[in-house]
């Protein structure tokens, strides 16, 4: 007989999970592996009590099975910040009491070319923090829960000076924009970056871009975001994508664009904004292909690139960069029992700019 989620593994755990494609979350008792389990890797494990967890749009997509590969029940959450409570015998870089983070993956093969080059996010056999089959056959459950046990290689040191709650979204949103900005060379001071979409990813991209010394234009379909974008987030200008005259006037003015938009949209107008040799990097995850005009790519030697989150080494580098430049996300802190309302608001982009669950203060007993 199959073991129930509560008894499958040695340690009792508690979180909120969705059981079907309605995506409604509710309290859920399950279990996690023990650091002490008779398994070689147990010696490499870090157990952390979860303090905060960011609500990523991917969580919403997974809850509703938008991508077609959700297995229920699922506990989402991959922007985890917590405090170390136990460490395995091989763990040297962390000690009990340390503030740490866990992002999008909790395991990878460690042997492929990508893993060996610190590009674990491109490993062909990644284990994601939630909704992924783990190597022992169980499924991973994420950070909307009281604690998690993670191999030390996938645990990040959290900078001292960063607020724990506002820092949580860096673990997915942060690295997701930082990594392509570095890889595609979008960090040259004085160059002009367009940020398409002003949500969780977009607003962090602005902050990084300003720290790199870039000129930033936000490209958005919502004119009412302009004031925020410029006065509070520090963008240099704002382009309403539904205004054809303004879009035309801005053609050929940007060196790079980070496209964070998840809805299906045409790349024709965005490619037009790029200068010759310009680069458009897409980090949003639309569920259908996008319309890509080839002529502007050919005539302008432009490129469209993808990027997923980032390897662990780079995630740590990004966190340290944020510590140095005092960058954290703009968040709305909520308790766990508010999560379903938050998800509805998120689906309407009604948040500036990330919900973060105050996990530690949401669960009455741990």
């Amino acid at each position: 007989m199959a073991k129930s989620p509560q008894t499958q593994l040695p340690l009792k755990a508690f979180g909120w999970a969705a059981s079907d494609t309605s995506g409604i979350l509710a309290p859920f008792h399950f279990s996690r592996r023990s650091r002490d389990s008779c398994r070689e890797n147990g010696q490499n494990d870090v157990t952390l009590q979860i303090l905060y967890c960011g609500v990523c749009h991917s969580d919403l997509h997974t809850l509703k099975n938008d991508w077609g590969f959700t297995t229920y029940p699922v506990v989402p959450g991959h922007e985890i910040v917590g405090v170390v409570t136990k460490i395995g015998n091989n763990v040297k870089n962390f000690k009990v009491g340390d503030k740490v983070g866990v992002g999008v993956i909790v395991e990878s093969c460690k042997e492929c070319e990508c893993c060996q080059q610190d590009l674990e996010s491109y490993c062909p056999k990644p284990v994601f923090t939630y909704n992924s089959p783990y190597y022992d056959g169980t499924r991973t459950q994420g950070g909307y829960s009281n604690f998690v046990v993670v191999h030390q290689r996938y645990v990040l040191r959290f900078p001292e000076n960063l607020p724990l709650d506002a820092g949580a979204p860096l673990l997915c949103a942060g690295i997701t924009v930082y990594s392509p900005m570095k890889y595609y060379g979008m960090t040259e001071a004085g160059k002009h970056l367009g940020v398409a979409g002003l949500g969780g990813l977009g607003h962090v991209a602005i902050k990084f871009a300003k720290a790199f010394g870039l000129k930033v234009t936000v490209i958005s379909s919502s004119p009412n975001k302009e004031d925020e974008a410029i006065k509070r987030l520090g963008a240099d200008s704002f382009l309403v994508s539904s205004d054809p005259a303004k879009m035309k006037a801005a053609m050929g003015t940007m060196d790079y664009i980070i496209d964070t938009i998840s809805a299906v949209h045409s790349l024709i107008p965005l490619l037009g904004l790029l200068k010759l040799n310009g680069k458009l990097v897409t980090v949003g995850l639309p569920n259908k292909p996008l319309e890509l005009p080839i002529f502007p790519l050919v005539a302008g030697r432009k490129l469209v690139g993808g990027s997923n989150f980032g390897g662990i080494k780079e995630t740590q580098e990004m966190l340290d960069f944020c510590g140095k430049h005092n960058i954290s996300a703009d968040i709305e802190l909520i308790k766990m029992d508010h999560i379903n309302t938050a998800m509805e608001r998120l689906s309407k982009s009604d948040v500036k700019y990330r919900f973060v669950i105050d996990v530690a203060n949401s669960f009455s007993s741990l």
């Binding site: 897409t282 080839i294 490129l303």
Partner: protein
């Protein structure tokens, strides 16, 4: 009163021009400008037929002006040089490709990227700075600023050299720019026509393993025995395509027809690059998730700058990269265009201008 092409300039010229979007070419008398102080004038010996010529004579891109003398793979022998010309002398073997001028002052021109200058002048069907129309290489003579003329090295037969001036640079430039020129890489070439076959030759010369991806199974033997490709994938064969997933470092896609990108993106290894050098008229569908999961890119490239075009020709001479051609007389040109439309050519027609385009013929 508009100046007539025959008398606009001092030097008489004979060419073949299309008069209307039927695209049919026929003899056309016009004139070329006086050889200016920086100009190189040459007798045209050969001119390659590029697929762009076919698009232009039929006004498929919407900006053709008639009469249109096509031809931008032009090779000949220098007959006169201007007083300030430094690189060429009478008797030199030279070529002209897709451009005859650019603004010469912008950032791109300064960086030897004249092909990306917003004001570059096409070899045919465009306007010179003096307002006159440019006429291409289906003609008995040409004159161009020495900056836009390349030397054809000894060791390259002139007829086979002609297609390098467009097809050659069009595939050489992205192989270099996107770092697909390192030995040991695995490069895919989609489409086996004028561009595709030269891409295979350059990629092999760079030391790559080459896979041709094509819809035509009957091209396999050619590709492998004749062109030196290492393997051949039939793009409509799902099993073959599936078996080759994640094996290519880069792909040069020469296909101009609308076609799906998803299977090509799937062939790429992670961090792989799909470079488009054909330009389908309609947008294609780009699946985002495979791009993101593999940090792959889709890019485009258009011909190349003059410095790189010379480098490409010198490389071709040194490494024996010669396009496969069918030499034709000028009066065969309309038939050649019909065959080109059906891709019935291995792999470039080259017009023997020197021997067959004569006055009163």
């Amino acid at each position: 009163m508009a100046t007539q092409p025959q008398i606009q300039h001092p030097n008489k010229a004979l060419g073949y021009a299309a008069r209307d979007p039927s695209g049919l070419l026929s003899p056309f008398n016009f004139s070329r400008r006086e050889t200016g102080e920086k100009d190189v004038a040459f007798k045209v010996l050969y001119c390659g037929i590029c697929h762009s010529d076919l698009h232009m004579v039929k006004n498929e891109w919407g900006f053709s002006t008639y009469p249109l003398v096509p031809g931008h793979e032009v090779v000949g022998v220098v007959t006169e040089v201007g007083s300030k010309v430094e690189k060429f002398k009478v008797g030199d073997k030279v070529g002209v490709g897709c451009m005859v001028d650019s603004c010469r002052t912008c950032q791109n021109c300064a960086e030897n990227l004249e092909n990306y200058c917003p004001q570059f002048t096409l070899t045919y069907g465009a306007k010179h700075k003096d307002g006159s129309i440019t006429y291409g290489g289906y003609s008995d003579s040409m004159v161009a600023d020495e900056h836009f003329v390349v030397r054809i090295p000894e060791g390259l037969p002139l007829d086979a050299a002609a297609p390098l001036l467009c097809a050659g640079i069009t595939v050489y430039s992205p192989l270099r720019y996107f770092a697909l020129d390192k030995p040991g890489l695995h490069v895919g070439v989609v489409g086996l026509g004028g561009l595709g076959h030269v891409a295979v030759k350059f990629a092999k010369a760079f030391g790559a393993k080459v896979t041709v991806i094509s819809t035509s199974p009957n091209k396999k033997e050619e590709a492998i025995q004749n062109l030196g490709a290492d393997s051949f994938l039939i793009s409509r064969d799902q099993d073959q395509m599936q078996g080759a997933m994640g094996t290519l470092d880069g792909i040069i896609d020469t296909v101009s027809a609308v076609h799906p990108l998803l299977p090509l993106i799937g062939l790429l290894k992670s961090h792989g690059k799909l470079v488009m050098v054909g330009a389908p008229e309609k947008p294609l569908e780009m699946p985002v998730i495979p791009l993101i999961m593999g940090r792959k890119i889709v890019a485009g490239s258009s011909i190349g700058g003059m410095k790189e075009t010379q480098e490409m020709i010198d490389f071709a001479a040194e490494h024996n990269v010669k396009p496969d051609i069918e030499v034709i007389p000028i009066d065969y040109v309309n038939t050649a265009m019909e065959r080109l439309l059906k891709a019935d050519i291995k792999y470039r027609f080259v017009i023997d201008i020197g021997n067959t385009l004569k006055s009163n013929s």
